[in-house]
Symmetry: C2
Subunit: 121 residues, 2 copies
Amino acid sequence: MNLNPINFQDKFSRFDDLWSPKVIAEMNDYQFKLAKVEGEFVWHSHPDTDEVFLVLDGKLDIEFRDGRVSLAEGEMYVVPKGVEHKPVASEQCQILLIEPRGVVNTGAVEGKLTAPNDVWL
Amino acid sequence: MNLNPINFQDKFSRFDDLWSPKVIAEMNDYQFKLAKVEGEFVWHSHPDTDEVFLVLDGKLDIEFRDGRVSLAEGEMYVVPKGVEHKPVASEQCQILLIEPRGVVNTGAVEGKLTAPNDVWL
């Protein structure tokens, strides 16, 4: 059995690409993914699942069609299934995403910000 | 839609009982629970699910029958389904637990440390 802790800062030191979640752990059929984000993402939704954003460093806004939530370090938010959202970070921000295995970062909105899925660190 | 961030320190300020997880959020059928822990918990396992421990403040050891993992702030670990474990904190520690709704903190080992389930903050 692997007895090594998963250290977020160690994992973040291993990549620099933005908006490209890296899997660091699985719990049952859910994945824990780290991402560095900066600037505006694309509007998208995940029709089959909620999605958790947990801010580990910096600040992240999540815009909705009818409002926004502003997250700082030590805060999390659950984006409900099917709700359109657009993450925005005015400065670089480090986040932990938690969602079922197989979720694509841009939902059905494929484009230049669509990241390869299931990339492990 | 609720546009309030979930702030861990705000939530921790609302309770002081040890080894008694409080639900702060749900993602699909999974729950996010905060707990303050100190001292030794009981040996137990969860036969049907993995369990995530994420340390938000302090240090936590998770003992296994054949070893242990030591977690500090900013570290997490996934205890595999069915594996006996005993969390131990030499000083008070603040943790985030992630697991399916309905998981009892002591598994099948009911006792004085068995906490009421599904208590929301």
